[in-house]
Amino acid sequence: MIISASTGVIAILVIPVVAAAILAALPGYRISARLNVLASGLTFLASLSLFFGDQPVRGPYLFVDDLNIAFIVLNTFVGFTTSVFSASYIGHELDSGRLTPVYLRFYHAMYQVMIGGMNLALTANNIGLMWVGIELATLTTVLMVGIYRTHEALEAAWKYFILGSVGIGLALFGTILVYMAALPVVGEGIGGMVWTVLVSRAAQFDPALINVAFIFLLLGYGTKVGLAPLHAWLPDAHAEGPTPISAVLSGLLLNVALYAVLRFKILLAANPGAIAPGPLMVTLGLVSLLFAAFMLYRRRDIKRLFAYSSIEHMGIITFAFGMGGPVANFAGLLHMAMHSLTKSGIFFAVGHIAQIKGTQKIADIRGLTQTHPWLGWSLVIGVVAIAGLPPFGVFMSEFLVVSSTFARQPVLAILLVFGILLALGALFQHLGGLAFGEPTGSIKPSDASYVPMVVHFGLVLIAGIYLPATLVAWFRNVAEILG
């Protein structure tokens, strides 16, 4: 191979930074929107090159293993398709006067910084560096959530900022505690923060200290995953920011935070004296699922509706990883990928719909399949997929989670199924009016680009019907790592 894995890693970190610098200096949104797409596309290609690395990258700062490749490729892919969607979305915001050219320049630069921050968090071998990456991505999204500068947007951004900072503060304290636990075993210096070193020596760590550290890390990063009762920022941030940001928040940032939790879960599992992290994650996951399922019923804002649906699905994923074991981990990974693709696809559709109708109120959006067949039917497909009905990929992953749970903990499985069905009911209740009611509001045709949306739903459909054997083998391998 011409490109080795290590240049791939460097590329996915450097391209966003360079692109951000150029975008910050470029006037004119048309060219910067295209450059944004180009940079995101190049980052995606660079991430694919990681598959072809001869030897694994393993430095004290960066590393690549089977687990994070899955995350990186998913991350950069959704980052790329969202940039395509953003290019067709954001021009309209300029026309309608919600954004000025200066803010748009800022928006594109921040988009790349955010992608870079997430890639840094995913490739970091150093737990301090991982924290820096997540913090960077969080701060940029805070700025973008508040970009419209309306009352609601500012409140959402402020809430997100305060809660996000608290979460990040707790996570840093947990990181310091992990270093303290490693200190007597690994010794002073950089070694105590390198994840691969930590895992190999974790068995000798003081169990009590690492337990406390994990609690801090779970609460800290869990805030960013949006687990109930730490989710308060999530619906506001999704509803008030630009829709491309809602798509990357749901599709990417939540996953990155979950990835951090998983890394520390592996660390904890390597220590025989430590508490089992599983039950904690199962509880948080189940609480999030049930809470979000009930909350879905009385939503009036369409973006807020799908934000709660994200909490629900992050709950299911956390639950699956908490159950552990090869099947549940496999299901969790698959569900994560499917949820990212489906939910960002839905947000693409919702973004165009909200622009045409000029509102996000569910009550004012009616009969989409008649007035805008492409958008309306895409929304129907998206909701059917996210509700977990066959033949889509989400059905398969949810089925795996439920069936593997039934074999081990039937009571939990019943609660899980109850939550999923509850959410399904709520989504369909809203979908009826949205897609098939008496048409209201503007019926002007949309000049939207449907490609990203169709690609996402297409992939979810294909995954539901046929999963390539290599992908299955890959996920199975990762499920083994997760233990």
Binding site: G128, H151, E155, F161, S165, L172, I176
Partner: protein, 221 residues
């Protein structure tokens, strides 16, 4: 005198950080709150410098210097000017009374002592006490963030929380420099973000009372 002078001084400094935290959670005037924060930053700087001396870790002096210049001088002065410009130097409201805040704060300190001292019996006593005090400062900062509704005092609460984190990082022997820089850097970014927000909020609402924002929250009907 079980551990000697180095331990006593570190203990004294870290303990005073917690005391100043108590001062802050009960402080009702914005200016005095800022002064208390500046005092805490000075103490933090001294504490980190002492750790640098004890651990023979010169890079910690940098962290101490940053704490002194940035947190004890630049940030309080900047916030002072913001408060002046916004004209909000009158008394600030707390969501819960100071008596209850004080009691909750004492409970939090007791909690962090119990938790940290119990789980670190083998760690070096200096780091151990530092960590327990640091957690107290972090939790008191959190308490301040939830018990205030004024945006400026929430920001101060957040920075006080960061002080606790720096104290913990300095106490962890030989922790790599990358983290300390990142902590200082994150504070800088955080301040930038907050500054932007404060000005925007000022622009739109003519108040920095976060409850004024609450009117717009939630579902739009």
């Amino acid at each position: 005198m079980a551990y000697g002078l180095s331990f006593d001084v570190a203990h004294l400094l870290a303990g005073s950080l917690v005391l100043v935290s108590f001062l802050m959670i009960t402080q009702h005037r914005l200016y005095s709150l800022l002064n208390a924060f500046a005092l805490q930053a000075v103490l933090l700087s001294a504490s980190v410098a002492w750790q640098a001396y004890v651990q023979h870790a010169p890079h910690l002096y940098v962290t101490a210097f940053i704490a002194l210049v940035f947190k004890a001088i630049i940030v309080p002065v900047g916030l002072h000017r913001i408060i002046q410009r916004l004209g909000i130097h009158r008394e600030i409201e707390t969501v819960i009374g100071s008596g209850i805040t004080m009691l909750v704060g004492m409970g939090l300190v007791a909690l962090s002592m119990t938790v940290m001292l119990k789980v670190t019996p083998e760690a070096d006593p200096l780091a151990r006490e530092d960590l327990a005090f640091a957690l107290s400062v972090v939790l008191l900062g959190l308490l301040m963030m939830v018990s205030r509704r004024n945006a400026v005092s929430q920001v101060v609460g957040f920075m006080s929380l960061e002080n606790g984190l720096v104290l913990a990082a300095a106490g962890a022997r030989g922790m790599p420099l990358v983290v300390e820089i990142s902590v200082a850097f994150s504070v800088l970014i955080a301040f930038f973000v907050i500054g932007v927000f404060l000005f925007r909020i000022r622009e739109r609402f003519d108040t920095v009372d976060v409850q004024a924002l609450d009117r717009f929250r939630g579902e739009r009907r």
